[in-house]
């Protein structure tokens, strides 16, 4: 294998990993607060179209990415109001959000088909970013570095800050957190909004970095991989990074098997692997610890204080 091939492969894996890493980091925080939002795919698509639309209007991808975060966060609020104010079923509400986001993004996207947007400039000097070897480190879109930087930030937030501790308490035992005087709903609103914003940015990676243009359903089910990833990582930020790159490699193998007919295993095998691995990981986690390991105890359950 030539160096060029390895560099190209690494760049492919990074590109495939970044959107799921972003969306999964957001969903990790949501789930740590005890909420299961299955609307990731819908929020990613809303982020993809909002980011794209904002870039078309302003010619500024930085404003575009803010638009993507806002689009994702705003659509997550639909879910938040239903789940937190009306105690609706989280699974059904999340699915509805995905169906809604898929449809609405297609509808909004009608007026944006055929546009191409300006892409991000490099954050590093061109001599580094365009170097045939060093580009493997310096040649990515700023979103890639943002995603990587968010891993330790989210990890540190959850583990070492007071707010992170409160968030975990809300996810582990909402009734106790409530009786101590923390605002369960407030924490969950914030977590869901953060999850929406991160999913939105992850979705925008498709419309603003990979292509850069808009196509219906362009996130192609990556929102579900992101959901799987959170579980696969056992709800830990560090493992999330490792898992994201592992899934990224599997997705790259799928593409490679599809493109080259490289056929000691069919492309579908690699495509199914993240999901199978997640089922296995879930089982192992549950086997090791009957209480569900690191899974937040209140995950998916409604918050019903008695008074």
């Amino acid at each position: 294998m030539s160096t060029e091939f390895i560099i190209a492969a690494i760049i492919t894996v990074v590109g495939l990993t970044t959107p799921i890493l972003l969306a999964a980091l957001g969903e990790l925080v949501v789930e740590k607060a005890g909420v299961l939002n299955l609307g990731v795919e819908g929020m990613m698509l809303m982020g993809a179209i909002c980011g794209f639309g904002a870039t078309v209007s302003t010619f500024n991808p930085w404003i575009g990415i803010l638009g993507a975060a806002a689009g994702g966060a705003l659509s997550s609020m639909l879910f938040a109001v239903l789940v937190l104010e009306l105690n609706s079923n989280q699974v059904a509400t999340g699915l509805a959000l995905t169906i809604f986001g898929t449809g609405l993004s297609s509808l909004i996207g009608l007026s944006y088909t055929g546009f191409i947007v300006p892409v991000f400039g490099s954050v590093f000097p061109a001599s580094l970013a365009n170097d045939p070897y060093l580009k493997v480190i310096f040649g990515y879109s700023p979103i890639v570095y943002f995603a990587l930087a968010m891993v330790p930030i989210v990890g540190w937030f959850l583990k070492s800050t007071r707010s992170g501790m409160i968030l975990r308490a809300v996810g582990e035992n909402d009734l106790s957190a409530h009786s101590i005087g923390y605002s369960v709903k407030g924490v969950r609103y914030a977590a869901i909004a953060f999850g929406g914003a991160m999913a939105g940015i992850g979705g925008a990676y498709f419309s603003m970095v990979i292509t850069p243009m808009w196509a219906e359903k362009m996130t192609a089910g990556r929102g579900w991989i992101a959901l799987a990833l959170v579980v696969f990582a056992g709800w830990r930020a560090g493992r999330l990074l490792v898992g994201a790159y592992f899934f990224g490699i599997l997705m790259a193998l799928e593409l490679y098997a599809k493109a080259s007919g490289f056929s000691f295993l069919p492309s579908q095998f690699w495509a199914a692997m993240p999901y199978l691995m997640t089922v296995i990981a879930l089982s192992v986690i549950s086997m090791r610890d009957r209480s569900g390991g690191n899974a937040p105890a209140c995950l998916g359950k409604p918050f019903l204080p008695s008074t």
């Binding site: 699915l95 449809g103 909004i108 899974a295």
Partner: protein, 364 residues
């Protein structure tokens, strides 16, 4: 004046009926407003999506054919949902059911007729059931969350389909297009009305809700499901086995989804390609909620959702909106029905005093 919610002593029966109807009407109203705001003729779009399929008699067969899988899947899901078992992998079970039926069809070669068709349908039921065995096993043995496993296995099923139709089962005469060979005429389901597309599956979808209704209201099993869902502690004291309930509700849901897949394949599409999974398994979740987990409700809700599918295609040509726009309406119906759940358990009171009494239902 402010709005106050009071807990009802008993869930409101009236609201059980009013809320789904109100949800559909509200969805139509909001649809008109939102579409007008987006510069699309909202009135026309909503009329085409919700009413044209019902008013144009030649669209009825499309509605019937689309409603059949939705109703059948939703019937199975409603049982699990009643027992608080969240199978969201019906789409995968539906796919495997269709593949199992296709496998029988291929194995039968040139043979056809009633026996082969019956075998295909049974294979569909078995296939869907088997795909639900893993989540049921993991849930009962290791307490693994069934929502996550059923969802994950759906995406595995998608890849199984991709592999089979692109590889071993690919139609040799299909110009290298990843799809199975179309079923020959004596392997397809009988057509009920000559000259239409209305196949045997539609009749099954019309009969099953009544069968399920009798089972759920008259049998010990139906009682068990209702008790486990509404009062798990009482169910334990009453001697109902929680694990058995999990097994039954997941396997029945899987079997129904598999049946729907087999019927859709042998009755409507006759070949499986990469576009075969069209999200019926997910839409059926909406049907189940809109039908209030009631078998007859599922029948009606299945028709409503089928109307939006057919109407979405009409609106695609009349007001030039993407096909997936129907999804906006389907999701809105689910949002409203979930939001209105609270009206069943709580009574809305308008109180004069502006005193900041926290809403009980709002979770304070």
């Amino acid at each position: 004046m402010r709005i106050k919610l009071e807990k009802r002593p008993e869930p409101s029966t009236v609201m059980q009926f009013v809320t789904p109807v109100a949800s559909v009407l509200l969805t139509m109203l909001i649809g008109v407003i939102v579409f007008d705001a987006l510069g699309i003729k909202g009135g026309r779009a909503v009329t085409d999506i919700f009413l044209t399929p019902l008013l144009a008699t030649y669209k009825w067969q499309d509605v019937a054919v689309k409603a059949a899988p939705l109703i059948i899947i939703a019937l199975g899901l409603s049982i699990g949902n009643r027992a608080q078992i969240w199978n969201i992998g019906a789409e995968g079970q539906y796919i495997i059911g269709a593949l199992a039926a296709a496998g029988v069809g291929i194995a039968a070669g040139g043979a056809g007729g009633g026996a082969i068709i019956t075998l295909m349908i049974l294979a569909g039921i078995v296939g869907g059931t088997l795909w639900a065995v893993v989540p049921a096993f993991l849930k009962t043995r290791l307490n693994v969350n069934e929502t996550l496993t059923t969802l994950m296995l759906t995406y595995v099923a998608l890849q199984v389909l991709g592999y089979l139709v692109g590889g071993p089962w690919k139609d040799p005469n299909g110009r290298n297009f990843p799809a199975t060979a179309p079923l020959h005429a004596d392997q397809t389901l009988p057509i009920l009305f000559p000259g239409t597309t209305v196949h045997l599956g539609v009749a099954i979808a019309l009969i099953l809700p009544f069968v399920f209704w009798i089972i759920m209201s008259r049998s010990v099993f139906g009682y068990q499901i209702r008790v486990v869902g509404s009062a798990p502690d009482a169910a334990r004291h009453g001697g109902f086995d929680a694990k058995q309930t999990i097994w039954l509700s997941l396997l029945i849901a899987g079997g129904m989804a598999g049946l729907a897949g087999a019927l859709e394949f042998a009755g409507a599409l006759k070949a499986i390609n990469l576009g075969f999974p069209s999200g019926y398994g997910f839409t059926a979740i909406i049907v189940s909620f809109l039908g209030r987990l009631n078998p007859i409700g599922c029948l009606i809700a299945g028709i409503v959702l089928a109307v939006t599918y057919v109407g979405g295609q009409i609106a695609q040509t009349t007001v030039h909106i993407p096909n997936s726009t129907a999804g906006i309406f389907q999701a809105m119906m689910l949002f409203f029905i979930l939001a209105s759940d609270i009206l069943i358990r709580y009574r809305v009171r308008f109180v004069a005093s502006p005193k900041a009494t926290p809403l009980p239902a709002a979770g304070e």
